[in-house]
Structures are given as structure tokens and as C-alpha cells.
Symmetry: C2
Subunit: 287 residues, 2 copies
């Protein structure tokens, strides 16, 4: 099924961006806009149209859980190098639906308490409730990304985690959660421009962290770690999508499209009344 | 200070809607639009302009807390009879700012565990962190509203709670939280129309609850309980605002205006860089 708002696409984002089979991150052009034949100006209008559609589907999803007719939920997992635009996705894509239907979790550097537990300990309680759209801004994947690149855990433990993640996500999808895993992919050059912009603007200084430059120096290691993530954890029930993100307008449109597809797959319905409508009309009239 | 977006107001919402002194709820006209001389069409445009202003102020608030220059936060408390439009405020007013800066809590009927504790036990942990806009969809006021009307607690306990609420809110404001307490005020007639609309539309059935009619029968008791709330808990540091809400466009504009005023009072500033900008530019260029 194709979302009505996607008339300018000449392909399905879920197919075009899926990182399965012989996927190679180093062959992805971060400047590209696969499947979308138009330009920025059209993309802005299409994003607005898609927001309306997403908003209605979200309300149906929420209603169907409240009405007890469905246990379905959506979980959007966002991973990316710094400045790739996770915040913009949350603001401009997720932000277009009713905040009452969204469970947003930003995973920061683990606390000592969190480190004392298994890496999934802090993640499990944040899984979305039925009817909700959960969003992970960073996630358990940090534990096999920075965890691997910075050797924060022994190699065997990193290996174990790939399997643990696949099992965990299988549990979630079995319970009715549609998982949409997105890596926003920018080029190293684009990241330098964006970091420089933060340094040039006093209203962006608060977003700049000197550690970002240290991480940036490990760019090739991070790309290798992402490649391993795709090879080890991109499953049929929870595939990875790699979204070229040098153009913010494309990344937003593409993630919106992936969310629309997930919701159309769920196809949530308005629940039937659990009460006698005619009788309630009478009761209400009498007040 | 007047928000730029409020050029069509002929008075300050914070002054006009404040429930202090000899305030009498039974004298409020739910159809009125105090301070706003225009009609629905202008209100829609003004709401968009206000959303941009609110959005920028919210980002500054968030940044100032992240930068360690301020501990300030905002807490919007929403109370109302059913169908008065709390959800619409969350969707159309709060929903216009970055979801990453919002902490939304919907207080439902207390669980047995919650009932085993003091009434503020479940509320305290939901107070907004520095830099955040907290929103309570219902709140501790339920414990002196339905709590009083339905005699869910002894009279002495209800009496004690007014004082406990005043103390609790004083703690919050002393710690830098600007509290905006809003009662959305609709007429009983308007509520009947809105409930009837939910019965007439299958896509709204899920929002209808037969209990709403039972509560509706106690309308005069609820109005008395609200009147007591205003008399006992509308303090200088945390005043109540009663917003006529028969016109949704007015209620949204008015609550937006109250939030804008709270943020302008905080006047959050972009934090200064905690690093050497020139040195970071060099480091970044070298990568």
C-alpha cells in the first residue's frame, strides 16, 4: 500500500533504503535522494501532506489500543554520527503527530547504575506501550558502536550483544511492535561543515561538544562498526534502513515515508463502541 | 513584556484571566474571548505566529539549562470538565514546540499502589527538569475535585490537601519552576453538544465513556469544588487562570499567550561557549 502523500516518489522507501543482503555502507551516496525525483521545494510540501496522513494513522493506532482491539505499536530507532539530524527528525517528523501518542527516549552516556546492569536493562522499560509510537534517540546500538570503537567492553561481549539484540527485537516484534531502525548517513565532509556552523553561531554553541571532534577522528572505525551492525542485526522482522542525510529535506521525507509504511502495514481501525450508542444518547439527552 | 505575536490582543491574558481576589467562577462567560478583539480566522493565523515564538523561547530555555546558566522550567497544569479541550491544547499549543523539550504526564485514576501513598507521591517525580516544559493533563487537583465531589477522602483530608498543594507548589516555584495553572471552562450546554458529537461519529466512539454522563450529572458540585480550589490554592507564585473554552480557537490562543508570558518572564538566554571557539575551529579544520 502506498501512502496517498507519496505521489512524487518513484519507488518505495522501505525497499530502496533497506540494508539487507550484500549491503555495503561505503557504497551509499550521502548526497543522494533515492526514490524521490523532486527537489527541496516539493519535498517541503510533501512533508506537510505526509504529516497529516501520519497524524491520522497515529490517532487510529492510539484509539485501537485504547479500544482493546489491537496491541500494535511502532518503535523508531534513530542512530547516526553527530550532526546527522536525529533532532530534526524528532522535531519535524515525529513532532507532527499528537504528543500524547509519542514516547520519546534519549539514551545518553550510561550512568554508573546502568553500567552495573546488562546493556539492555535500561532499554527494556522504554519499549512503547500498545498504541504508542516509541522513539529512541540513540539506543542499545550504542553498545555495539561506541562500545566497539572505544573498546568499552571485551570483544566477546560485543559479539554476544549482536545476538542479544536480535533476540530482544524479536520479542518486541512478536508482541506487536513494528520496529523501524534508521541510520541517518551523512558524509564526513558534511559533518565538518555542520560542526563549523555550530562554532560560527553563538546560538548554536550549546550544541557543540569538543568530544565530537575526537569521535570524528574515528570516522572510519565507526563506519566499520555500523557495517557490522547491519550485517549482524538487520533481520526480516526488524531490518535496518540507511537514509542518505546530507539533504535534511530528503532524510525527513524518507523517515516519514518509513513510518507511514509501518502504520499502513498495521492498518489500525477505529474500535467499535463498547456501549449502546442509542441508550447513551437517551441518557445524555436527559441531563 | 508582550509577545510579538500578540498584536491583536487588547489586554494581557495573564491579568484578564487570573482567578484571584473575589473571583467567581459562576460569573465567567464560557463563550467570551477576553482581551482578544478578533475572530476565529485571525486567531488561527495568530496561533501560528505564536507557535514560532514559543518554539524559539522553548529552545532557549532548554539550551540555558544544558549550558548550566539556568535552572528554570515551566509547568503547565491543565484541569477541566470532560470534553473541554485539554487534548487540543496539548496537540495544538504544546505540540508546536520541540518534543525533546516537553515532559507530558497524563494522570489517570490512581492505581492501588498510588492510593497506598500520599496523594502527591505520584506527582512529585513528574515535576519538570530544568529547561523543560512540563505538562500535567489532570493533576494533583483531581484529589480535591473528584476527591471532594465523590467523597473519596474524609473532609479533613481534603482540607489538609489544599495546604499541602500550596506548600508543594511553593517548593517548585522556589526551585525555579514557573507554574501556569489553567482551568478550561466550558458551559454544561457545550459539553452536551460535544458528548453528543462523540456519539454521532464512529471515529469518536473510542473517546466516549458512559461514566462521563454520570460525572456530568454532578456539574454544580464540580463547579463548587473548582471555586474552592481557586479560593484555596490561587497564590501569588502559582495563580490560577480560568480560560473560557466554548470557542476552542480562543482557549488555544489564550493558553499559548500564558505560556509565552511565562517564558518571557524567565527570559532564557543562549549560554556562552564553555570551550575556546577559535581553538576548536583549528582542531576541526585539522580533521
Amino acid at each position: 500500500m502506498t501512502p496517498k502523500s507519496q505521489k512524487h516518489w518513484n519507488g518505495d522507501a522501505s525497499t530502496l533504503l533497506r540494508a539487507t543482503g550484500g549491503f555495503r555502507l561505503d557504497r551509499v551516496d550521502a548526497d543522494a535522494s533515492p526514490g524521490y525525483g523532486r527537489r527541496k521545494r516539493d519535498a517541503v510540501a510533501d512533508l506537510v501532506a505526509g504529516a497529516d496522513e501520519l497524524s491520522e494513522l497515529q490517532e487510529r493506532l492510539y484509539a485501537s489500543a485504547r479500544g482493546g482491539t489491537s496491541e500494535a505499536s511502532v518503535l523508531l530507532i534513530l542512530q547516526a554520527m553527530d550532526t546527522a539530524g536525529k533532532g530534526g527528525i524528532v522535531r519535524h517528523v515525529v513532532g507532527s503527530v499528537d504528543p500524547q501518542g509519542v514516547q520519546l527516549t534519549a539514551f545518553k552516556k550510561p550512568t554508573p547504575e546502568e553500567l552495573a546492569h546488562d546493556f539492555l536493562w535500561r532499554v527494556r522499560p522504554q519499549a512503547p506501550a500498545p498504541g504508542m509510537i516509541g522513539v529512541f534517540d540513540r539506543s542499545h546500538y550504542e553498545d555495539v558502536l561506541i562500545g566497539k570503537v572505544r573498546s568499552l567492553a571485551p570483544e566477546e561481549e560485543i559479539e554476544r550483544r549482536y545476538g542479544a539484540i536480535v533476540d530482544f527485537e524479536k520479542e518486541l516484534t512478536d508482541a506487536g511492535t513494528h520496529i523501524v531502525k534508521v541510520m541517518l548517513h551523512i558524509s564526513a565532509h558534511e559533518q565538518r561543515d555542520r560542526l563549523m556552523d555550530r562554532l560560527d553561531r553563538p546560538d548554536k554553541h550549546w550544541k557543540y561538544n569538543p568530544d565530537d571532534v575526537d569521535e570524528r577522528k574515528l570516522w572510519p572505525d565507526y563506519m566499520k562498526a555500523y557495517q557490522s551492525v547491519f550485517e549482524r542485526t538487520s533481520t526480516a522482522n526488524a531490518p535496518w534502513y540507511v537514509v542518505p542525510a546530507n539533504h535534511k529535506w530528503y532524510a525527513r521525507l524518507a523517515v516519514q515515508s518509513l513510518l507511514l509504511n509501518a502504520l499502513l502495514e498495521i492498518d489500525p481501525r477505529w474500535p467499535a463502541a463498547s456501549f449502546d450508542v442509542a441508550a447513551e444518547r437517551e441518557r445524555l439527552r436527559a441531563t
